[in-house]
């Protein structure tokens, strides 16, 4: 295979990658050099030495965006879970702050595991919504993520999934390109489990769902995907969209250094206009009409005994009486 065939696309993408960084941050010291290479790209592919140097330099950073959503703490006891039926929204329990969706933290963990394994990764958190609580949203930064990008405008927390995908796609186009787009397998509020999948379709990128293990391998990623009673070993190209499941391992606890670093970082905030959208683009396809807590009328029959052991014995006898065992 010729040099151009092997590296042409990779160089084009990487160059675009650095230009993307340059346009959004001012810390890319090699930007002038890279812009130069864009201008001379067609000639440059013939100057092999020049390009090899560039590739060596550029291949260092894998840009990863992790989709993150702020949700009510799912550990809220069911007794404190209340709905305001007049506004069709969940009443936040007093004293329980929101959190970043747990599966999204699994996705952050997946990205950090790549860093642990020696890859030079830049991890960007991307979230769409409003009313962000920074203590919650900065947790991934404290775990080790590098940047926090928020698309923040009133009402953006009420989008349907199609509109959410549209906003995420526009933000990724603006802030990208990225090598990997990671999302948690689903969010613990609306349990829809399809925003990341839809994003892959809209961006026209390959998708692998339910990833439990992730390793860089040159220009590809090696994955394990959970299937019933086992897993698949998969090779996916870069860029790809991946949904991450909790089998990847528990999200690490932030250490003190991470917390200090996160406290100094400020989110980069986009408006809809910044990413080339207006509210007209976000008309819902699915509209919430009613949200309510279903009544439970199940009555438990508590088995009691002289002591706990006796209760255990009586439970077994009662289940036999009911022909359940």
């Amino acid at each position: 295979m010729g040099f151009v065939q092997r590296y042409g696309e990779r160089v084009r993408r990487l160059v675009g990658n650095v230009i993307g960084r340059y346009s959004n941050t001012d810390r890319c010291g090699t930007a002038n050099f890279i812009i130069c290479s864009v201008r001379w790209c067609s000639e440059a592919v013939q100057k092999k030495r020049f390009l090899v140097l560039e590739i060596g330099k550029l291949e260092l950073t894998v840009r990863i965006v992790v989709l993150a959503k702020q949700v009510p703490d799912p550990e809220t006891p069911p007794s404190q879970f209340k709905v305001d039926e007049s506004t069709n929204s969940v009443i936040p329990p007093t004293g329980v702050p929101p959190v970043v969706n747990g599966f999204d933290l699994n996705a952050v963990e997946a990205a950090l595991k790549l860093r642990d394994a020696g890859a030079d990764v830049e991890i960007t958190l991307l979230s769409v919504g409003t009313g962000f609580v920074m203590d919650a949203m900065k947790k991934p930064l404290a775990m080790g993520a590098d940047r926090l990008v928020l698309v923040d405008e009133p009402e953006l927390d009420k989008l349907d999934s199609a509109a959410t995908v549209r906003v995420l796609a526009a933000a990724i186009e603006k802030d990208g390109p990225f090598d990997l787009i990671l999302g948690g397998r689903q969010a613990s509020d609306w349990d829809q489990a399809h925003v990341t999948i839809g994003l892959a379709e809209v961006l026209d990128l390959p998708l692998v769902s339910l990833v439990q293990k992730l390793e860089m391998n040159g220009d590809t990623v090696q994955l394990q995907r959970v299937i019933p009673d086992g897993y698949q070993v998969i090779t996916a190209p870069i860029p790809s969209v991946l949904t991450i499941t909790n089998e990847i391992g528990e999200p690490r606890y932030p250490n003190l250094r991470g917390i200090m670093q996160a406290s100094r970082k400020q989110p980069e905030i986009f408006s809809l206009a910044d990413i080339g959208l207006s509210t007209d683009d976000l008309a819902p396809k699915v509209q919430l009409r009613r949200l309510y807590v279903p009544e439970s009328n199940r009555q438990v029959e508590l088995i009691e005994g002289d002591d706990e052991a006796d209760a255990g014995r009586k439970l077994a006898l009662r289940l036999r009486e009911e022909k359940l065992i």
Partner: protein, 321 residues
């Protein structure tokens, strides 16, 4: 008329699967519905008596595509464009969740996953209403679909599998779409399983955070063994590494509906209950009498599992002897 395209799945024998029979019930429950079942590959002979209007076959799912479903998504998108249904239905399985979402976003349709109710009478004529559990099952949400077509997936067990019969026509649909997405499945690793399959077990003995460590799962395994059942676990127990994730029951684990679901040291968070609430009887052993599991259970013992379980196991052994 409401036209429904219902994407079938097969069981291990190649026959129309349970999720599809349930979806047929849901589709036939719609007002003035015309239902077409789509099946990948040669249709089994039994489809000619399904209680639907027609059956369409598309190209078979390539075994090498195992779980990625690129080609079938492209074929379905072509079929939807050419036949223009109001609704596309899937069971909420791994297949339906991935292909349904991909299809919806590819054709710009609305997507309503994990529905437990569906109607076409709610709201303005011509619109579709769906109900689905949200917040891990703590709440129910009713949605109106503002634009058709809509792709829906139906929660397992939300509809009874129908028994009716019909005389549908069977026709092939040939799609010229070719997908060549560069994802390669290089290996499939089956994790060894002992005894009864969790999803098929008549009795499931599940343990949670309250067990405090991995060792007690051997007691649960003994109990499951005596009862001819399988061992389950809450996500907390799996994430803690006490037992393999293949045992996880719940919203993001397996959905089970045994005759008896024995929950030991499980608090009963709605995310867990989503995976076992269709059990015939839930039996709870938990030392916290206020925990949610007692709101869902039919029988319960408030007590320390370390004291309750040995005598329970011993008595069950005697009864089974």
């Amino acid at each position: 008329m409401t036209t429904v395209l219902l994407v079938a799945e097969r069981d291990d024998r190649g026959e129309i699967g349970q999720a599809t029979h349930q979806a047929i019930t849901a589709a036939n429950g719609l007002k003035d519905a015309q239902v077409t079942v789509v099946i990948a590959g040669d249709a089994p002979a039994s489809v000619t008596s399904l209680p639907v209007d027609s059956v369409v076959t598309i190209s078979p799912i390539d075994p090498a595509d195992n779980g990625i479903y690129d080609q079938v998504t492209a074929d379905l998108a072509a079929l939807v464009s050419s036949s223009g249904p109001d609704l596309v239905m899937f069971g909420k399985t791994d297949f339906g969740s991935v292909v349904g979402a991909r299809l919806a976003f590819r054709i710009g349709a609305a997507f309503a996953p994990d529905c437990v109710e569906i109607s076409n009478e709610a709201g303005v004529a011509g619109t579709v209403g769906v109900t689905r559990p949200v917040y891990g099952g703590s709440a129910l949400a009713e949605f109106e679909i503002a634009s058709l077509p809509v792709v829906v997936t139906l929660r397992a067990g939300a509809f009874e599998a129908g028994a009716g019969t019909g005389t549908p026509t069977v026709e092939p649909f040939v799609s010229d779409s070719l997908e060549s997405r560069p994802i390669v499945v290089t290996d499939t690793v089956a994790e060894t399983r002992e005894g009864v399959r969790l999803e098929d077990a008549d009795v499931v003995v599940s343990g949670g955070r309250g067990l405090g460590g991995p060792e007690p799962f051997s007691v649960l395994a003994d109990l499951a063994d005596v009862l001819g059942g399988a061992v389950g676990a809450s996500r907390a127990a799996c994430d803690a590494g006490w037992i393999d994730h293949s045992h996880q029951v719940g919203l993001t684990g397996k959905t089970v509906s045994p005759d008896v679901y024995i929950a030991v040291g499980i608090s009963g968070a709605s995310q867990h209950m989503a995976g076992c609430s269709s059990s015939r009887a839930i039996v709870a052993i938990n030392k916290d009498g206020d925990s949610n599991i007692f709101k869902e259970a039919r029988f319960g013992v408030v007590g320390d599992w370390e004291k309750v379980l040995p005598s329970f196991l011993a008595t069950v052994r005697d009864l089974k002897a």
